[in-house]
C-alpha cells in the first residue's frame, strides 16, 4: 500500500541527514500515483497534492524521524477533512411530508437505495412512502413494489403517467395515508441528456424536495467529476449516497464528488440486502482510498 511505498522512498534517503523539498516531491509523486490508481479524478488529485505539499514541507515532516509516516498522516487527515465537514444528517421538513429525491446515472443503485433509506427511516419511527417515478425501465415500478413488500413500506405508483404528475400526486396520497416522508425513485439518466435532466428540474420545482440525493457507484472512475458537477449545477444536490462499497474498489470517486460539489456523502450502500445502508465515515473512506 501507500505507506510501504513511502517508507521505501524515504529508506533510500536515509543517511542524507535532513529531508529536502526534493525528497518531499518524490513522496508527493507516490501519493499522486496511489490516488490516481484509486480512481480519484486527475484534477482533484492535482489540487489535493498542492494542499498536502504545503503542509509536507513544514517542520513537522522535515524534522521528523519518520517523515514517511508523517506524510501519510497529513494525507490521511487532509483527505478525511475534505470528505467530512459538511452537514451529513438528513434534512427534515417542519411541515410534513418531508420529500427526498434520488437521482443518478443508470444502474447506480437508486431503486435499491430508496428502499434501504425507507427502512432506515422506519427504524427512526417515521412513516415513509416510496414513489415510483421511473416509467421507462422495464419492470422498474414492479421492482420498487417488490422492495416495498419486502420492507413493509407502502409504494405509490401511477403506472405510465408523467413522472412530474406522479411526484405531485404522491404528496396528497402520502397525507391521506398518514405518511410523513416521501422518497422519489427516479429513472437513471445521463447528465448530458437535457430532456431527462429537465424532467428532474421540473419535479424539483413542483414538489421542492428537502433532499436531492445523488446516488453514485463507488467503482466510478474519472467521469465521477463530470457527472456530479452536471447534476449539481442543474439541480443543486443536498447530498450523495455512495453504493456498492461492499466491493473491492478503492472508491476514489468519493473524494472527486465531494471536492467538486461540496456535498456531504450521507450514506454508503454495503450490499444488496435491504438493511445494507450505513452512515458515511470520512476517515474510514480516506484509509480505503489510500489503500
Amino acid at each position: 500500500g501507500l505507506s510501504q511505498r513511502l517508507q521505501d522512498v524515504f529508506k533510500k534517503l536515509r543517511g542524507k541527514g535532513k529531508i529536502s523539498e526534493d525528497d518531499v516531491n518524490l513522496a508527493m509523486r507516490e501519493v499522486r500515483l496511489a490516488l490516481l490508481e484509486a480512481d480519484v479524478n486527475f484534477k482533484v488529485v492535482k489540487d489535493f497534492i498542492g494542499r498536502v505539499k504545503e503542509r509536507a514541507i513544514g517542520q513537522e515532516v522535515l524534522q521528523s524521524l519518520t517523515p514517511g509516516q508523517q506524510i501519510i498522516k497529513i494525507v490521511h487527515d487532509e483527505m478525511a477533512a475534505l470528505m467530512g465537514g459538511s452537514e451529513s444528517k438528513l434534512t427534515f421538513s417542519s411541515r410534513p411530508p418531508t420529500i427526498f429525491m434520488a437521482v443518478g446515472l443508470q444502474g447506480a443503485g437508486k431503486t435499491t437505495t430508496v428502499a434501504k433509506l425507507g427502512k432506515v427511516l422506519v427504524k427512526q419511527g417515521r412513516k415513509p412512502l416510496l414513489v415510483a417515478c421511473d416509467i421507462y425501465r422495464p419492470a422498474a415500478i414492479k421492482q420498487l413494489q417488490v422492495l416495498g413488500e419486502q420492507t413493509g413500506i407502502p409504494v405509490f405508483a401511477m403506472g405510465q403517467n408523467k413522472p412530474l404528475d406522479i411526484a405531485r400526486a404522491s404528496i396528497e396520497y402520502a397525507k391521506n395515508r398518514g405518511c410523513d416522508m416521501i422518497i422519489l425513485d427516479t429513472a437513471g439518466r445521463l447528465h448530458i441528456d437535457s430532456e431527462m435532466m429537465d424532467e428532474l428540474v421540473q419535479i424539483k420545482e413542483a414538489v421542492k424536495p428537502d433532499e436531492i440525493l445523488l446516488v453514485v457507484d463507488a467503482m466510478t472512475g474519472q467521469d465521477a467529476v463530470n457527472v456530479s458537477d452536471h447534476f449539481n449545477s442543474q439541480l443543486g444536490l443536498s447530498g450523495v449516497i455512495l453504493t456498492k462499497l461492499d466491493g473491492d474498489s478503492r472508491g476514489g470517486a468519493a473524494l472527486s464528488v465531494k471536492a467538486v460539489t461540496g456535498c456531504a456523502i450521507k450514506f454508503v450502500g454495503m450490499g444488496e440486502k435491504l438493511d445494507a445502508l450505513e452512515p458515511f465515515y470520512p476517515d474510514r473512506m480516506a484509509s480505503r482510498i489510500l489503500g
Binding site: G107, A139, V146, T220, G221, V227, G247, S249
Partner: protein
C-alpha cells in the same frame, strides 16, 4: 491537443493526462506514451498531429484481436453466458443481442437465470416480448442452475440457434457468488461438453480501475471470451479496456450506446481510439 504543438515535455505530459482522464490507468498510460515517444523519435517526427496518428495506431493495435466476432458456428444451440457486476447493463445488453440475432433470422431463446434480484425476471420477460423471442424462466428464488438446465433442454428441443443466459449481478470479491457462477458454467458444460461458445463480461464504461479486477476474477471463475462495454453514450471513455487488453488479452466485442434494443454496435477499435482524444 492542438496540431501545431512541438514535442516537448509539456506535450507528452498532456498526452498522459488525456489518457489518465479517459480511465486508461496510470501504468498503461505511461507505457503507451513511452512507446509513442520512442516511435516518434525513431521516425524523426516533430509534428504533434503525426503523433496523434501514431498513438491511434498503437491503441488500435492493442485492441485488435483474432476472434473479435461472436463465435457461434461451432455448435447448435450456440450458448452465450452473460456475467458482470451489479447494474453494469447485462439484462439490457441481452435484449440488444437477441434483437440483433433475430434480425439475422436466427432463432433465439433467453434464460432468466437471475432468480434473485427484485423483478429481474419481469424485466427480462418484457424485453423478450418486445424483441419477440422465447424466455425460459422459473419463479423468483428458484435455483439458477435449474433454469439453465431447462433452458438448454428447451433450446435443443426447439433447435434454437442461440441461447443467451442472463445471470444475477455480483461483485467479484464475493467468493460465494463467484463459486455460484462457476457452478453455472459447469452445468452448461455437463449438457454441452464444449461449454458455452461465449462468456461475455458486461463492463460499464464509467467504471474505473476496479474493472481490471473484475476482468481478472471473472476470467478465473468462468473464463471470459469477450467484453460488452456499456453506457458509452455517456461522457466516460471506457479507457479501462486498454489495461484489460494488455494484461488479459480479452477482446471487446460490442459496445452499448443507449437504453433501446437497437442501441448496440460491434466494437470498432478505430472509432474507440479516436474518441479517446475527443
Amino acid at each position: 491537443i492542438q496540431s501545431t504543438k512541438k514535442l516537448d515535455e509539456d506535450f507528452w505530459e498532456e498526452l498522459e493526462e488525456i489518457l489518465i482522464q479517459a480511465d486508461v490507468g496510470v501504468n498503461t498510460s505511461l507505457e503507451l506514451v513511452e512507446k509513442v515517444k520512442q516511435t516518434a523519435r525513431k521516425k524523426k517526427i516533430s509534428d504533434s498531429s503525426e503523433v496523434m496518428s501514431i498513438i491511434a495506431d498503437e491503441v488500435r493495435e492493442m485492441l485488435n484481436y483474432e476472434g473479435a466476432e461472436l463465435n457461434l458456428q461451432a455448435h447448435t444451440p450456440g450458448i452465450i453466458m452473460v456475467v458482470g457486476v451489479n447494474g453494469a447493463g447485462k439484462t439490457t445488453s441481452i435484449a440488444k443481442l437477441a434483437y440483433m440475432f433475430k434480425n439475422e433470422q436466427q432463432r433465439v431463446i433467453l434464460a432468466a437465470a437471475d432468480t434473485f434480484r427484485a423483478a429481474a425476471i419481469d424485466q427480462l420477460q418484457i424485453w423478450a416480448d418486445r424483441v419477440g423471442v422465447e424466455l425460459i424462466k422459473h419463479q423468483e428464488g428458484a435455483d439458477p442452475g435449474a433454469v439453465v438446465f431447462d433452458a438448454i433442454s428447451a433450446a435443443k428441443a426447439r433447435k434454437a440457434d442461440v441461447l443467451i443466459i442472463d445471470t444475477a449481478g455480483r461483485l467479484q470479491n464475493k467468493t460465494n457468488l463467484m463459486k455460484e457462477i462457476s457452478k453455472i458454467r459447469k452445468i452448461i458444460e455437463r449438457e454441452i461438453p464444449e461449454g458455452p461458445q461465449e462468456v461475455l463480461l458486461v463492463l460499464d464504461a464509467t467504471t474505473g480501475q476496479n474493472a481490471i479486477s473484475q476482468a481478472r476474477i471473472f476470467e478465473e471463475a468462468t473464463g471470459v471470451t469477450g467484453i460488452v462495454l456499456t453506457k458509452l453514450d455517456g461522457t466516460a471513455k471506457g479507457g479501462i479496456i486498454l489495461g484489460i487488453a494488455s494484461e488479459l488479452k480479452i477482446p471487446v466485442k460490442f459496445v452499448g450506446v443507449g437504453e433501446g434494443m437497437d442501441d448496440m454496435k460491434a466494437f470498432d477499435p478505430e472509432v474507440f481510439a479516436r474518441a479517446l482524444f475527443e
